[in-house]
């Protein structure tokens, strides 16, 4: 085994650490999104729909998971009163 091969064999822990950090960042995102975001989206939509008519496709919910805090971004597009009146 060459010298470099020897070094590489020795220092596998930093590789493990980096792989885990990248993987877990991704997995935390998809797991929390698959559950939480779906629930939030559905419930927020239900509440908003009671007052204005909302196209379900125009609702976007995003969660950004940070180290200390996470942010929830809700983007709902609905037609304003003027546009509604024009249609009616």
């Amino acid at each position: 085994m060459s010298f470099f091969g020897f070094m590489r064999r020795r220092n596998s822990a930093p590789v493990a650490r980096e792989r885990l950090q990248i993987l877990l960042e991704y997995e935390r995102r998809i797991i929390s999104q698959s559950d939480l975001v779906a629930v939030l989206r559905q419930e927020i939509l239900a509440v908003v729909s009671r007052h204005v008519s909302v196209d379900p496709d125009k609702v976007q919910v995003k969660v950004d998971r940070g180290a200390k805090v996470s942010t929830l971004e809700v983007d709902i597009e609905f037609p304003n009163a003027g546009a509604n009146a024009a249609h009616a």
């Binding site: 930093p14 493990a16 650490r17 993987l23 997995e27």
Partner: protein, 271 residues
């Protein structure tokens, strides 16, 4: 005030059962009443590790289903008199555990004991979620190895979402127990070190159990390492973890069995 602790990990074979037995015995040796509960229905092993495999008559399923009383299923340890075992069933499967039944049994155990340690099955399914469901705190057993760390991360997510505490919006206290740690290999960069694991999982550390032949010897003998080799490095690590669990502040060290040169020369055992 009884405390219910779930010992969990996600991955199998990392030392949940060994750690449950060793911590349970260490806590009981301080005079507190302790019950270790095997939730691994169908694949019970805590009885074997505790050396009580020939004394099992009734089990958790019988108690959950209400066919017998809790006191009939509890097995008292022959070495430490405040230590009890509630074994799992070997013939039934996890579906025999009902949610209400488990809640009732945990409630009864809370009245009888100071500490209730629930040994979770591996995985993230029903058996594991039922074991963590009513816990006041969790011990996550992790080996310094990629698949174990990944699965621990997953379990931490479940502890924060699927437990009673989490559903009430409360914080679930989590303690990391790193088992099978080899300080030499970590120092040489061959194994994830403590800082790596802590940084990745970001939960507080409750103990570091060194890789030790005494642990295998203990399970061979059916006696928790904190009973069979009280002075060993692994036992001292578990004793320290048990004291931290009780709220004591003890400096975090990695106990070692290695003798220093002087100790070797004079034939003394390293403390």
């Amino acid at each position: 005030m009884a405390k219910v602790i779930v010992v969990t990990s996600g991955k199998g074979g990392v030392g949940k059962t060994t750690s449950t037995a060793a911590l349970g015995a260490a806590l009981a040796q301080t005079g507190k009443s302790v019950v270790v509960v095997d939730f691994d229905v169908g694949l019970r092993n805590l009885d074997l590790v505790m050396g009580a495999e020939r004394r099992v008559v009734y089990d958790l399923i019988n108690v959950v289903q209400g066919t017998i009383k809790l006191s009939q299923a509890l097995i008292r340890d022959k070495r430490v008199e405040t230590l009890y075992l509630l074994p799992a069933s070997q013939t039934r499967d996890k579906d025999a555990l009902t949610e209400d039944g488990v809640a009732r049994v945990i409630g009864e155990l809370r009245e009888k004991f100071d500490w209730v340690l629930c040994d979770s099955p591996a995985g993230i399914e029903r058996g594991a979620t039922l074991a963590m469901r009513h816990a006041d705190a969790a011990i996550i057993v992790t080996n310094p190895e990629v698949s174990s760390v990944r699965d621990s991360d997953r379990i931490i997510g479940l502890l924060d979402s699927k437990t009673e505490k989490a559903e009430k919006g409360e914080n679930m206290p989590k303690h990391l127990l790193i088992a099978r740690y080899d300080a030499g290999r970590a120092a040489r960069g061959e194994m994830l070190n403590i800082e790596d694991v802590l940084e990745i999982l970001s939960i507080p550390l409750i103990g570091i159990i060194p890789e030790s032949e005494d642990v295998l010897r203990a399970s061979n003998l059916g006696s928790p390492v904190t009973i069979s080799s009280v002075q060993s490095a692994a036992a001292r690590a578990y004793q320290a973890a048990a004291r931290r669990l009780c709220g004591e502040e003890i400096e975090m060290t990695i106990p070692s069995d290695r003798k220093g040169l002087l100790n070797r020369l004079f034939g003394r055992r390293a403390a």
